[in-house]
């Protein structure tokens, strides 16, 4: 019902006009670029971390698990605030700055915010995916002469395919949909760090209902397309 109302209310001429507006094109493009970048980064971290959590016992594993799960329970705004403090006022800022990286109120900040919002979900999915793969398959592979890395590539990764796809869908959806974290860390500046949820918010606050609704619709379409594309990818994999 609520979703349907999004498509019923606006006048279609308005939407057509808004979609091709410069602001919308900017926002969509930035959303896609940051969303895809973040998803790739998230997966690069979630695969090894999820695997390690599933397979190895190590000192401090419980703590690592809690730290990783914490952002799921956090309100987005608080997570954003934590990241802002972390990247904006600790020695980490100086270290990053000397490497030429600044996350605060920048496009890189959008990626950072999306990354930390989506990472815990991706790790959880990857961990439970690897939990379901019999470790003895890996044992046998190693006894037949394959190293840990080769075994991961030959056995664990192909068998985790469904979990990887699910993890990517969730990550991408979280990344392009996240608002609070991005707003606080990257700022919601017009045509600068403006991604779709920010467009929605900015236009609501100007009272520009048509534009807000259009960005809502575009956001929905992108999410559905992502799920569709990933599902297709899963079949062909």
């Amino acid at each position: 019902m609520a979703i349907a109302s999004l498509f019923v209310v606006p006048s279609w001429d308005d939407v057509r006009h808004n979609i091709w507006s410069e602001e919308m094109r900017f926002s969509l493009k930035l959303s896609l670029i940051t969303g895809i970048t973040s998803t790739i980064l998230v997966m690069l971290f979630a695969l090894p971390i999820g695997y390690a959590l599933s397979r190895f016992r190590f000192w401090g594993k419980g703590l690592v698990k809690t730290v990783i799960d914490m952002p799921i329970a956090f309100p987005e705004l608080v997570l954003g605030l934590c990241l802002l403090l972390l990247f904006g006022s600790t020695i980490l800022r100086d270290i990053l700055a000397s490497a030429g990286i600044n996350f605060v109120f920048t496009k890189k900040g959008i990626v950072a915010a999306q990354f930390f919002t989506a990472l815990p979900y991706a790790i959880r999915i990857m961990k439970s995916t690897f939990d379901y793969i019999n470790p003895r398959l890996e044992f046998v592979s190693r006894s037949l002469g394959y190293s840990m890395f080769e075994t991961f590539k030959n056995i664990s990764l192909p068998l985790a395919k469904n979990g990887i796809v699910a993890s990517m869908v969730i990550s991408f959806a979280r990344c392009i949909g996240t608002f609070g974290t991005v707003l606080i860390l990257a700022g919601g500046s017009y045509m600068k760090t403006e991604i779709l949820p920010i467009t929605l918010y900015l236009n609501i606050s100007y009272g520009n209902m048509g534009m807000a609704l259009t960005s809502g619709i575009v956001l929905m379409i992108v999410s559905f397309l992502a799920i569709f594309v990933f599902e297709k990818a899963e079949v062909s994999l």
Binding site: R136, L137, F139, V140, S141, R142, S143, I155, L159
Partner: protein, 283 residues
């Protein structure tokens, strides 16, 4: 020095401890490990392949200390009860998996020969999930054997199979093993395996190796009441008494049994009687 030597192996995994396990095997030995569930049999096997790091002790294979060697460098094959075939590979590719890693020629013919020996040559193009349990286990055996491992480890290879299939697979295994000079360690719940296949037996309980020796030694000279009972003897309690002929007489509720074992006169003793030593005569 022996072919395989395990020295004071000590492994702790969570609440479980494998305590000071030591034994040696010669080349071509076939060892059956028996013991109650939770004894640590699987853990012992998996630590020989290298999946668990021992806290203490060492493992020597052909005089080389392999205690800290990576599993992939040991050339030890393992076969599990639940087959663990690679589900995303065909039977052929499952068997070929280990060979791909080796620099040797005629891989294809080696695979076909092994498949023939194990009666799975008609299944090579199939997927593991389309095979019966017996067929899957033969594929797992072929996969482990085709790379000529120094040592073959098997964890209850027949216990998921129905008795008939289990017997057939055992016969096939016996034939394949007799054609090679491989050394085998085999965990089993079936005492018949010990008689049919092995020349040595080990009894494991609560992480400790209770007895290790020739098969008939374990069955005929068990070292404790637990082992005797575990290998099928009847346990009775009685009192040792003197007997004139240099034998010990054991009084069990008035029935006196003579034994060649010695015991202190008047002490409480346990008697183990194997079924094949009870002779029933018709009246």
């Amino acid at each position: 020095m022996s072919f395989l030597r395990i020295d004071n192996l000590h492994i702790s995994l969570g609440d479980f401890y494998l305590k000071d396990v030591s034994f040696t095997l010669e080349k071509r030995d076939y060892l059956i490990i028996i013991g109650p569930t939770g004894a640590g049999k699987t853990i012992l096997l998996e630590s020989i392949v290298g999946f668990w790091k021992p806290q203490k002790g060492s493992i020597y294979l052909e005089k080389v200390d392999i205690t800290n060697e990576l599993p992939e460098k040991r050339n030890i094959g393992i076969v599990y009860q639940d087959y663990v075939l690679l589900p995303h590979f065909t039977v052929f590719d499952n068997i070929a998996y280990g060979l791909k890693k080796k620099k040797c020629c005629q891989k294809e013919s080696k695979i076909r020969e092994m498949a023939c020996m194990l009666n799975i040559d008609h299944l090579l193009h199939r997927r593991p999930d389309t095979l019966s349990g017996g067929e899957q286990q033969r594929v797992a055996l072929a996969r482990a054997l085709v790379v000529d491992p120094k040592l073959l480890l098997m964890d209850e290879p027949f216990s998921a199979l129905d008795p008939q299939t289990g017997r057939e697979t055992r016969q096939l295994l016996k034939r394949v093993i007799s054609k090679s000079d491989i050394t085998v360690i085999h965990i089993s719940h079936d005492l018949n395996d010990a008689w049919a296949l092995a020349n040595k037996t080990a009894v494991l309980r609560e992480g400790a190796l209770l007895q290790f020796g020739k098969v008939d030694e374990i069955f005929n000279r068990p070292r404790s009441a637990f082992i005797a009972n575990f290998v099928g003897a009847t346990i009775l309690h009685g009192t040792a008494e003197k007997n004139g002929n240099g034998l010990t007489s054991v009084n069990i509720d008035g029935v006196k049994l003579a034994s060649i074992d010695s015991a202190i006169n008047g002490s409480d003793v346990t008697v183990a009687i194997r079924p094949e030593n009870i002779i029933v005569l018709k009246k």
